[in-house]
């Protein structure tokens, strides 16, 4: 039944997004990009791709940040186009996608204010997909209560924030706790929303969100070693979904060092080897980033990215579902990260590491 009426409301946008996907930079184009001698070459090479002349009006010399900024702008434009053409429940789905950026922005602003950075600088660094009207007012908040009652209460993040209200002062640790609590609540909420959408969408989105949850849990665990975060608190931050939940999460909460984490990871085939420095990447679609530089141990983060890319690519195998929208923008984000990496390597003349990008298609 889902398939029967999908095209009447989502068919056009699905077509658009699949078209966008066809414009993602391919392996050959990546190879060409990595051969560039200068950022000018880079720009010329990019103009042959879907990015077209997006840098044509920049005064040389162009910087890496300009490239990243313009590329992100393109992503945002595409997102906004899709969103303004969408109807429910896709609109809601896309809204959910923006919440993640909102959380990042909120945390960025709070921690920036804590370190007394200039508000305007901070606002510029916020991700444009996660902006909301009252965002600038975040900088006046000095404690959690205030944060909630002055600004966040009218944002979609408000329900996620309720669990954080117990924390009192805004310091490094508390901000991290807030971020992770928000994210946990967000992931759980998003997941239940996705489940409510029914079969094809939830089939595709569940693994992606589960992985996201697992990634969070792992990161929290590893980063909390040697900090004042207690194990109880740590356990509270784990999202209640994912491949590792509940046994793995329980074990993670008890873990004291990386080796114990590794044991937990061995329980899930796909995650096995994420923490092995030397072994190849796990995961289905991940291929070949470490081809040239074998000695460079792919970090955990790289494994995550590769696995995520693989999952997101799978989303395109199914039709009549919203997973493609999520996946496309995640892939596009990854593409921008890769482009920025390559551009950075060219700019800093670090050719030996240029192949450490993560290809999408």
């Amino acid at each position: 039944m889902e398939a029967l009426f999908f095209n009447s409301h989502g068919g056009y946008l699905e077509g658009i997004v699949r078209g966008f996907k066809a414009g993602l930079i391919t392996q050959t184009q990546y190879n060409n990009l990595t051969q560039c001698e200068s950022l000018d070459d880079f720009r010329m090479q990019l103009s042959a791709t879907d990015y077209g002349n997006f840098l044509a009006n920049e005064t040389p010399p162009i910087s890496t940040s300009t490239i990243a900024e313009k590329a992100t702008q393109k992503l945002v434009d595409e997102f906004n186009y899709i969103k303004s053409n969408s109807v429910q429940p896709l609109t809601k789905f896309l809204d959910y996608m923006t919440y993640a950026y909102m959380i990042d922005n909120v945390v960025l602003l709070i921690s920036g204010t804590l370190h007394e950075r200039d508000t305007h600088d901070l606002l510029e660094r916020c991700h444009p997909l996660g902006t909301f009207d009252t965002m600038p007012a975040l900088c006046v908040a000095t404690n959690v209560e205030e944060l909630y009652s002055t600004v966040l209460v009218e944002t979609p993040l408000a329900p996620y924030f309720r669990d954080c209200l117990s924390a009192q002062d805004l310091d490094e640790l508390n901000i991290e706790i807030i971020r992770n609590t928000l994210y946990k609540a967000y992931l759980e909420d998003f997941h239940s929303f996705v489940l409510s959408l029914g079969a094809p969408t939830s089939d595709v989105m569940s693994p992606i969100l589960s992985f996201e949850a697992d990634r969070r849990a792992l990161n929290i665990t590893i980063n909390s070693f040697g900090t004042s975060l207690s194990k109880d608190q740590r356990a509270k931050l784990f999202p209640s979904l994912g491949r590792l939940y509940p046994e793995g999460a329980f074990a993670l909460a008890k873990a004291d060092d990386v080796d114990q984490v590794k044991v937990v990871l061995d329980g899930v085939v796909e995650y096995r080897g994420f923490l092995e420095g030397q072994t190849g990447p796990g995961g289905a679609g991940a291929a070949g980033a470490e081809g040239a530089t074998g000695q460079q141990a792919a970090s955990l983060e790289d494994h995550f990215f590769q696995y995520e890319v693989g999952l997101n690519k799978l989303a395109f195998l199914q039709q009549f579902q919203y997973g493609v929208f999520y996946s496309f923008f995640k892939l596009k984000e990854q593409e921008i990260r890769s482009l920025t990496w390559i551009a950075e390597c060219i700019a800093q003349n670090a050719k030996d590491r240029i192949n450490d990008y993560i290809p999408t298609f």
Binding site: N32, Q35, C36, Q45, A56, T119, P136, A137, V151
Partner: protein
Amino acid sequence: MSDQRVSQYPSLLRSEQMSLVQLYVPIDQAHSVVEELAELQRVQFKDLNPDVNPFQRTYVSQIRRCDEAERRLRFLTQQITAQAIPIRPFEDTVALLAGRSGPQALEELDTRLAESEQRVAAMNGSYESLEKRALELEEARQVLRETDVFFSEATSRTQEIRSSFDEPSAPLLGDVEAGAGAGESGFGGGFELEFVAGTIDRARMATFERVLWRVLRGNLYMNYAEIDDSALPVPTSVAGDSAGGEEKKLRKNAFIIFAHGQDLLDKIRKIAESMGATLFPIDSNADKREEKLREVTSRIEDLNSVLYNTNQTRRAELAKIGESISAWWAVVLKEKVVYTTLNLWQWDQGRKTLVAEGWVPTRDIPTVQAALRRASENAGTSVSAILHELRTHKDPPTFHRTNKFTDAFQSIIDAYGVASYQEVNPGLFTVITFPFLFAVMFGDIGHGIVMMLSALTLILIENKFKKGTGNEIFDTFFYGRYIIFLMGLFAIFTGFMYNDIFSLSLHLAKSQFRWPTDFEKGTVVEAIQTAARYPFGIDPAWHGTDNALIFTNSLKMKMSVVIGVIHMSFAICLQVLNHLHFKKPELIWAEFLPQILFMESIFGYLIGCIVYKWSVDWEAVGRNPPNLLNMLIKLFLSPGNVDPDDQLYPGQAGVQVFLLLLALVCVPWMLCTKPYLLYREHQKIVEQGYHGIGSTSNQNGGGLLSGDEGESDGEGHGVVAEEMDEEHEFDMGEHVIHQVIHTIEFCLGCISNTASYLRLWALSLAHAQLSEVLWSMTLDKAFAMEGIAGIIFTFLMFSMWFTLTVAILIVMEGLSAFLHALRLHWVEFNGKFYGGAGTAFTPLTFDGCDEIPEGVL
């Protein structure tokens, strides 16, 4: 390529014979060679470095330079258009280029552009900062004014304010009252309560208020007023963003917030700043405010005069650039084309010459050689580039030499498919058949004349619109002006045949029929046939009779079939020309013969019968004329039996059986011969022990010059690839299936296509009926009235009739008839013989380099 002889005159029947040529160009001439060849528009270069990345090619730095120059030009052009300074068109600036082109010109231009860009950018920078300052001052002035209003209201109407503040949601009010009550006297001079004043974007006002309310927990009193849109000067940076064309305005609010305590004020300031508000220090003392206002006003005036001066200098600079910018554009765009072309060429080992390969119409080789000599003269060297022809088995591009008359007709055919190399080009016949078939559907002298005259007007003033007007619809009609002209002419002709002029008929000669003079009113009158014959087209006596429709229907229906069958038979016959040209005479009996026999034995026979039936005086024979449709059906259903009543001519049954058998034989004939021929040919090759590559590469080797390694390599690859294709492709099953489909398609197509030509009848009928209805509903009624009312009514009705005639009968009906004529050519005509699998010849050209690219303006 055995036929190297080029006929004396170019024709449209076949595409131009092409030669693959190789050019050896000394490096110092390369630039001028490309320029000359681009002016000539007769060479299509091949990419000789397909494996090389764009940024690894030889001339990439020059291209990058062009890109950079283009960026600067874009910037300057945008600046110029933003200032609404006119840009001199290219035609007037071309003189500036005299003798200056090529790398030196680009170099020179580059420095000039860099300078101009820098100057304009600097001026823009200072102008913008001045503007920003002016905006701030203006905002300050507005805030001063608005706050003045607040304050004066506060002093004069304290009481009222107090009562209006009496709301439970505003706890601060107590303070205000208290403060006001305590310092009643001081209210005019020093205001006790601290406050913040400033301006903020109107769209953010609501959020701002909400956030403040929550942050301060309602402990504030806020007042704001909208600043008049026109009061604020719009900075160019903001105005430039509005692409919508509508003038952008700054919509801002002035606000003043009263609050208590330094902490709260700091918070307010912080929030306001992060929300993008501008804050101004305002004194609560009225005199000081007055003074400040005066000061601000005088500073605004100073700034405005500075702004004006800056703008004038900038305008002068830009106007100077605008004088010659179109020429600059041309230089840069041309250079870019030149270097892009040079990047397709190959360096030889010695790095002294460039090797280029491309297609040239064989006929134009001398012209190209002359161009090469010119180029070497221009470059000032004695050695000119060397051109020599290569032999190849690759498919050359298709190039039809058209002129302004045939161009539009050819494009009708190209829209269906570009002809395969040297195949018979239906475009030639389309020139006449298209307007003719159109006119069969559109036959009306009056409409034809209107159409022809309007096309004629376009033709006479065509020089005015050479470059196009930018109006897409008009340009389309203008492009097809010669088609429309011929369509009009033919419509006049068919109009005479149908004897229709605006749905009326002409009495040009004596009619065949005479109306009886004595008749009773209300009875049916029958015309009396006389010995006279109307010499041309339909007798006008038919106009308005009861059985006119029956008569014209029968006539037009038969006529459509006759025209259709002739048209299609002609198309089948054109196959012969193709078979002969491509040296496949066996296909004449394997393909052409069964097809034409099939066609003629059924439908050729039908039109023979039609003509025969017309030629017999059935009244004299003394029986009803037989029904041809039934005859055709019975030919299939009960062959050999002809009802004596329906007999058209004696011996009909035997003839029909023979024709039917002939048609039936044609089907297996078509089906089997071609695959068999292909199979035999393949067997022959296999038996001789060839494995494809042998024979052709030997031939090829003879044609190659031994000296050039790169080329022979390239050729070798080409041959191998080709042969491998052929080898791979031969698959008997595939050929058989293909032929089965083809046969079925042809046999069914003959029937359905013939029926398809009935649209000629249907549309001409619809056209005639529609124009008759229009006439009788409008003008005819007006003519029935008399006196003054009749005159007025006629006047009104005429305008209505004429508008509707043009809009509906000529434009809309014309478009529909055009569409149907198009279909008849694409499907019914082209389908019979036209392959249309070629690639178009796209010569190197500077077209479009004379204009500033569209997106920029």
